[in-house]
């Protein structure tokens, strides 16, 4: 190939390559996609005052809520409840009158005080928060092995468990009756002696 022809060929190649490079077509619907993206990014177009308005509104609402909640918490009458809470002495179940010493309680004037105190304590009993009695409401604790066995037995054989319980109750009642009766044998032996 002549040098001139070769250069002409190269020019043609370069022209074609450059033209092809510049003629890239986008996928169909590029304009729609761009408009959709612009609408999705609408926060760019929102006026500043609107955004700041929302921020201020949210902040003010939050502050008002916090203040209101704090005020509500403070306005709850805590002091009377604290006074009526049982002291360690109260927790043991003793009445205020019982706290007075025996000498003081026997004095007529003191007896009147005791009555007044008892009346007061009776009136305030409904408002008082009494501690839960452990014998009535035992604290939840896992059952022992024997208790578990018993519970399982009752669950598996409820009728037999009832029968056994009844039989035991009858037996205990019978024992109590026998214990309550006088013992003729022992009396006679005593007389014999």
């Amino acid at each position: 190939m002549e040098p001139m022809d070769q250069e002409r060929e190269l020019d043609r190649w370069l022209d074609t390559a450059l033209t092809t490079r510049g003629r890239i077509e986008p996928r169909a619907g590029l304009e729609k996609r761009v408009l959709a993206r612009l609408s999705a990014e609408s926060h760019f177009a929102k006026p500043h005052w609107l955004r700041w308005g929302w921020i201020l509104f949210a902040t003010a609402t939050t502050l008002w809520l916090v203040v209101w909640l704090a005020w509500t918490q403070l306005s709850i009458p805590v002091a009377p409840v604290a006074k009526s809470l049982p002291s360690p002495a109260n927790a043991s179940g003793t009445a205020p009158a019982a706290r007075l010493s025996g000498v003081q309680a026997t004095h007529p004037r003191n007896l009147a005080d005791v009555r007044r105190l008892n009346a007061k304590s009776g009136a305030g009993a409904s408002q008082r928060i009494s501690p839960a009695r452990s014998e009535t409401f035992p604290s939840p604790c896992p059952l022992s092995e024997q208790e578990e066995l018993l519970a399982r037995y009752v669950r598996d054989f409820p009728e037999r468990a009832v029968q056994v319980a009844r039989a035991q109750t009858e037996l205990r009642k019978q024992d109590e009756r026998e214990m309550a009766l006088p013992r003729p044998d022992t009396a006679s032996t005593d007389l014999d002696q």
Binding site: Q6, E7, L10, D11, W13, L14, T16, A17, L18, T19, T20, R21, G22, R23, I24, E25, P26, R27, L30, E31, K32, R33, V34, L35, A36, R37, L38, S39, A40, E41, S42, F44, A45, K46, P47
Partner: protein, 185 residues
């Protein structure tokens, strides 16, 4: 005006004249913006992302759109900046290898390099080896929508500089191509 564009403008919170301007910009120039982005990024997905980013940036100036003298050159300039930024970030992220100096595959011969399917890849490699100030005017001039004046506005150089730089770039490309196709000694 289509229902979609009405919905879009409502979502954007634009006034009627602003909405018309934005829509006109998108409809008239989105293809040019895409081609500019693609000429830099050489990837369709990246180019589309860059196109959308270009219009998002343009939307920030929606109040001044009516006063812009040459919206096409203005958009082209934004698109060019967006594409170049993305390209640089991509290179930085990928820690790309420097361009191959030899430009010749040890397997493929010069004739094979001139085949149609490899033309684009070869041109990209040749262009990437060019100095930036020569490459950019040539790349933008290959886009059929861009005149030398508009390329000058995008690159912030005079029209004469655009022409001379593009001519020099083209000469360098020819020489390198000639060196590739000529038989080795």
């Amino acid at each position: 005006m289509t229902a979609e564009s009405v919905m879009a403008s409502e979502a954007l919170g634009l006034a009627q004249h602003e909405q018309d301007l934005v829509e006109t910009l998108v409809l008239d120039h989105s293809r040019l913006v895409y081609r500019i982005a693609c000429s830099v990024l050489r990837n369709e997905t990246d180019a589309e992302d860059a196109t959308q980013e270009t219009f998002l940036r343009a939307l920030r100036y929606r109040k001044k759109l009516a006063r812009i003298q040459d919206p096409k050159a203005w958009l082209a300039r934004i698109a060019w900046r967006v594409a170049v930024e993305r390209h640089e970030n991509k290179i930085r992220a990928a820690d790309a290898d420097p361009p191959d100096d030899t430009l010749v595959s040890p397997v493929a011969g010069a004739d094979r390099l001139l085949l149609e399917e490899e033309r684009g890849a070869l041109l990209d490699r040749l262009l990437s080896a060019l100095p930036e100030e020569l490459r950019d005017p040539l790349v933008l001039l290959t886009l059929e929508e861009m005149s030398p004046r508009e390329v000058g506005l995008v690159l912030d150089i005079s029209e004469a500089a655009v022409r001379s730089r593009a001519f020099r770039a083209r000469q360098i490309l020819r020489e390198r191509l000639l060196a590739l196709t000529s038989p080795r000694k």
